[in-house]
Amino acid sequence: MTTLLPRPALLLLRRLMHYAILAICALAVIYPLVYTAFASFMTPDESAQYPPKLLPSHLYLGSFRTVLDLVPLQTFVLNSFVISAAVMLGQIITASMAAYAFVYVSFRGRAFWFAVFIATMMIPWEVTVIPNYLTVKAWGWLDTYQGMIVPFLASGFGVFLLRQFFLQLPRELHEAAKIDGCGHVRHFTGIVLPLSRPALASLGVYAFLNAWNMYLWPLLVTNSDTMRTVQIGISMLQFQEVTVWNLVLAGVTLVLLPSMLLLALGLKQLVGGLTAGAVKG
């Protein structure tokens, strides 16, 4: 090829192919989402047609209204939001505290406890799900916020992520704080936390999305419509007697909007942030 084509032409050709491949991949990745968005703007008649219509004829908003009347989607979203926000805050607090201990406090057994914390990441959640269900049930926490929040407030992954970040902070700051007679609490809240905002944000986005997307646990511990989370509510839509497609997809669209927004805002934090400490030992 190099002999047949001059170099600039070859580069141009290569670039064109590059974009063509990218476009095809992008179409494949985004198609299910575009389809969902389009279908939620279709009228019931349009969505039932065969061959299936790919584009709505006009922006019909009735499906959104109907789906909001049919299922208490607002309640689901609110529940999910309360739970995810609480889990996010809780994980940031517990994980940053523990990570602080592992980096800045020199105490006996530190290495041992760190190994224990790392080992928690190896225990699959499913192994503990049966006893946890029994615990939560015994405490009368079924169908409550605390039943869906408290078991998730600690995170071994979070501790690991933040520890790696704290280790990268300049050591001199710690020495200076020590000389100034700054205690651990003041050092932690006044210096380490403010400096770690990027890492805390990464953990926050990650924890929030994970809590927002939880499926098995809320399925087990909720049974009333007032406590359902979005994820359970959405999959219930599918089994309602009215399985009108565009209604279901209108619901999905509504539910997807907040997470898409969060992704658009937090993508930069996620790229880089998540792997800052996780990849290289």
């Binding site: 190099t2 290569r14 590059h18 974009y19 991949c25 990745v29 985004i30 299910p32 989402l33 389809y35 969902t36 279908a39 039932a48 065969y50 299936p52 790919l54 517990t94 505290m97 523990a98 201990a101 406090v105 105490f107 530190r110 224990v116 190896m122 699959p124 959640w125 499913e126 192994v127 503990t128 799900v129 049966i130 006893p131 269900y133 029994l134 049930k137 408290v150 407030l153 600690a154 501790v159 997307n213 499926y215 098995l216 359970i232 999959s235 839509l237 497609w245 999905v252 997470s259 969060l262 992704l263 993508l267 996620l270 790229v271 880089g272 998540l274 792997t275 996780a278 990849v279 290289k280």
Partner: protein, 315 residues
């Protein structure tokens, strides 16, 4: 030489003992501080992770009544009856197949996408956003969307196939296709996360490595295989471990799309646990199953570390 070294050693010992005496109080204070800072996480782990793990072991040796109370000690009978049941081997096989379908394909796809969008070409930001999109999706929303796409008559996938002149596929109701369909949906759903992690990994690699490769006349294929893959191998290894774990733990997509069917062809491990514990209310055998799952994940992870670490190229 000898004297100076000995003197130094004496000095060092002296310094150490003096230091110890002075800092005994400090050490006590530090230890207290350390445990106080760890306490919130430690208490939560104890209640919701270590205690349940021990309780799982305990439950796995008992028969339980539907309310979760222990009824009778049976020792290892739960495990023995598990290993004798065809359902157990079926769900193990399904899980392994599911892992084999989703992990290598998913990683390769994400790696390709990351390699294509990592440079500084025009418009890459938009492509990066599109390829990251699936990370914001949950199991349940993805499954609901794909249940529509897979619908045998009104789903658009079969419509596109018919346009290409291919006979419609019974995506979710044909035992030969169901696991494949669930896998396709899972690859799509997980691609966002793998993509983001790989893109981050790639951004840690200096651009000039690729520039010099290009000047040396390395084509896109050669620089992908010989430069990019080895450089990104630590990230790839990390993702491989994580993906195998998550494949072994998948549940939501099977529960929503196929309910483990048709004919058990998509009944993965966690679905069996769910069925045993929360549909049949057999917490004892359910716990036994969960422990077997734990053992498998542990084994696979250790195996990956033994085999993989050697091939990974840390720079």
């Amino acid at each position: 030489m000898n004297t100076t070294e000995a003197e130094l050693a004496v000095k060092r010992v002296n310094a150490r003992t003096r230091g110890t005496r002075r800092s005994l109080a400090v050490i006590g204070k530090e230890t207290a501080a350390g445990y106080l800072f760890m306490a919130p996480s430690l208490v939560l782990f104890a209640v919701f992770l270590f205690y349940p793990l021990a309780k799982s072991v305990y439950l796995s040796m008992y028969l339980t009544d539907p309310r979760g109370r222990v009824a009778m000690f049976v020792g290892l009978d739960n495990f023995i009856s598990l290993f004798r049941a065809d359902a157990f081997w079926n769900s193990l096989l399904v899980t392994l197949k599911f892992t084999a379908f989703t992990v290598p394909t998913g990683l390769l796809a994400a790696l390709l996408l990351a390699a294509l969008t990592f440079g500084r070409l025009r418009g890459m930001r938009a492509f990066r956003f599109i390829f990251s999109l699936p990370v914001a999706l949950s199991v349940s929303t993805s499954s609901v969307i794909w249940s529509m796409l897979y619908h045998p008559t009104t789903g658009t996938l079969n419509y596109f196939l018919s346009k290409l002149g291919i006979a419609p596929v019974q995506w979710l109701t044909d035992p030969a296709w169901a696991l494949v369909s669930v896998s396709i949906m899972t690859i799509w759903m997980n691609s966002g996360f793998s993509y983001i992690v790989l893109l981050s990994g790639l951004q840690g690699i200096a651009d000039d490595i690729f520039d010099s490769a290009r000047i040396d006349g390395a084509g896109p294929f050669r620089s992908f295989v010989q430069i990019l893959v080895p450089l990104v191998s630590p990230t790839l290894f990390f993702l491989c471990v994580i993906s195998v774990m998550s494949a072994f733990q998948s549940f939501g997509q099977m529960n929503i799309l196929t309910k483990g069917g048709p004919a058990g062809s998509t009944e993965v491990f966690v679905y069996s646990i769910y069925k045993e514990a929360f549909i049949n209310y057999q917490f004892g055998t359910g716990s036994a199953l969960a422990l077997v799952l734990f053992a498998f994940i542990l084994l696979l992870t250790l195996l990956q570390f033994r085999l993989g670490e050697r091939k990974v190229h840390y720079h």
